[in-house]
């Protein structure tokens, strides 16, 4: 909460768009020469970038560009696959994510993640949202109800599901399910929200709703969005990074990336030559 006070009114479209650091801005995430390997295969090579607090940061790139690998490195979900390793440093609030003594469960609570394919845990809508807090030891029914309602309201899903919270969550539509995934993350009051192509399976209207939602959420959270779709990056219009074949090609405001890319490969991508 203190963070929110300190940076209130910063995550606006203006700041993100023009890339002008607002006064007192702090670095939330920083990667320095970060590389990630699956066995011998190098999926991410020497990536260095900084993401500010309460920034909406978009990573775009074609399949296999390493953007999801970067996202999964941030909450150490990539380590579930055996035989992976990393080089360089990746820090959140100045603390190395891979440092000794990092509590992985606590890290994942602070760094929430929304997956490409919306997944309903095999339980009720209520329990899906309450799952995270319950695992943190919140048991009191009244308290859980409040957390669930607030999370669903913040994810703009409350009005659609408030009368059927005990229904199995798999009955929701794809777009609702993805907002449920977001509510599930919000219920844990994370600091960072990672979204891995959250709209890839959704219709245009659901997609727009989620994109609008992101601009509301960034008032309170740092958001990293991964997309393979340059049009989406342009629509969201935030600070954008372009990844290609495991390398960070360039970063800049969406406006700069789309109108005057510094690198030929970026220009090819945004003009639809590959992807």
């Amino acid at each position: 909460m203190t963070e929110t006070e300190a940076v209130s009114g910063r995550g606006t479209r203006e700041d993100n768009n023009r890339g002008i650091p607002a006064s007192g801005s702090t670095t939330k995430i920083s990667a320095r020469n970060f590389s990630f390997f699956y066995g011998e295969h190098c999926a991410l090579r020497d990536v260095s970038l900084e993401i500010r607090r309460n920034q909406l940061f978009t990573i775009m790139g074609p399949s296999g560009s390493g953007k999801t690998t970067f996202l999964r490195a941030l909450n150490r979900l990539g380590n579930l696959i055996p035989n992976t390793r990393h080089e360089g440093s990746l820090k959140i609030d100045g603390v190395d994510v891979y440092g000794k003594g990092v509590d992985v469960a606590e890290l994942r609570r602070r760094v929430g993640m929304v997956f490409a394919l919306p997944v309903a845990l095999p339980m009720s809508i209520f329990s899906n949202v309450a799952h995270g807090p319950r695992m943190q030891g919140v048991r009191h029914p009244k308290e859980l109800e409040e957390i669930v309602e607030k999370a669903l309201r913040d994810a703009i899903l409350w009005d659609e599901v408030k009368d059927r919270l005990s229904d199995n969550a798999s009955r929701l539509s794809g777009g609702q399910l993805q907002r449920l995934s977001i509510a599930r993350v919000l219920a844990l009051e994370p600091e960072i929200i990672l979204l891995d192509e959250p709209t890839s399976g959704l219709d245009p209207i659901s997609t727009l709703r989620i994109e609008e939602l992101l601009w509301e959420l960034v008032e309170r959270y740092t958001i990293v969005l991964v997309t393979h779709n340059p049009l989406q990056a342009a629509r969201i219009d935030s600070k954008t990074a372009f990844f290609l074949m495991g390398e960070l090609i360039e970063t800049g405001s969406a406006y700069d990336i789309f109108t005057r890319p510094k690198d030929k490969r970026t220009e090819d991508y945004v003009s639809g030559k590959y992807g």
Binding site: N75, R108, R109, H131, G132
Partner: protein, 272 residues
């Protein structure tokens, strides 16, 4: 035309299966039903079982199967969890899987011999409820491990990722997401195990003995329903009572199946 013939062939084969099943159960019913009275269920046997009831054998069957399950189910399910959730990509699950598959194919009389040598003689438990239950639990353990492992493996990885990404520990993910999803499959395995244990004769006669008295402690000898009608029929004591006992066993298995399905439907139904 050939489609029609194949359909007829399959219908015939299915019909044959049903006829055989109905014939066996019907035959036992026709022969067993006349002797089946309330006093037959609730009295102790007299004259080696020629007259009187089968109450001690019902108690012995329920005790042996119940204790065997009480030991084997938690051990089996937790082993399956360990193999699938904690050591998935190592050599251990492969070795254990090979072992359980081999064990599941071993004739029950070998388990009986092992139980006799190890529990009855070496551990000096004698012919007792405990020796029999321990032997049965060893016998059904592979079935429970194998079926639970299959059921847990079938739970989509996406559930695990979501739960872990929400800051749950591995163990929390297992208890709150993985096991509830795998519950129907695990229950099926447990049912198979009960079926195998309750009808067991060879492994039990070696380890629990064949006492006709009601067991008072876990170290008393007892006899189960299958052992009882085996002895009644084999030694020509009373064929009528053997049929009645067999019929009681069939009813018991039926009752357990129905109860398990009801419980399972209620458990999984609540989630929906």
């Amino acid at each position: 035309m050939t489609d029609r013939r194949v359909t007829l062939l399959f219908a015939g084969i299915t019909g044959l299966t049903i006829v055989v099943l109905v014939f066996i159960i019907g035959y036992i019913m026709v022969n067993g039903l006349p002797g089946l009275t309330l006093s037959f269920l609730l009295e102790s046997p007299r004259e080696m079982g020629r007259t009187g009831g089968i109450f001690p054998a019902i108690v012995g069957t329920v005790l042996l199967t119940g204790i065997a399950l009480f030991i084997a189910a938690p051990v089996g399910i937790l082993t399956a969890v360990y193999l699938t959730e904690y050591t998935r990509d190592t050599w251990l699950p492969k070795v254990v899987r090979f072992g359980t598959e081999s064990l599941a194919g071993i004739p029950s009389i070998i388990f009986g011999l092992f139980g006799f040598l190890f529990f009855v003689i070496y551990l000096d438990l004698g012919w007792s409820v405990l020796s029999g239950a321990l032997t049965l639990s060893a016998m059904i353990l592979p079935t429970i491990v194998r079926t639970s492992e299959e059921a847990i493996r079938a739970v989509p990885d996406a559930y695990r990722e979501v739960s872990l990404a929400l800051g749950s520990t591995r163990w929390q993910t297992v208890t709150s997401v993985v096991l509830p999803s795998a519950k129907p499959g695990i229950m099926t395995g447990v049912m198979l195990a009960i079926g195998r244990a309750i009808g067991e004769t060879a492994a039990v006669i070696f380890t629990a003995g064949s006492s006709l008295r009601l067991p008072r402690t876990l170290l008393d000898s007892t006899r189960t329903l299958p052992v009882h009608f085996y002895i009644l029929a084999r030694e020509g004591i009373s064929l009528e009572n053997a049929y009645s006992t067999a019929f009681v066993l069939i009813l018991l298995i039926l009752a357990i199946n129905i109860a398990a399905h009801t419980i399972m439907n209620r458990l999984t139904g609540k989630e929906r």
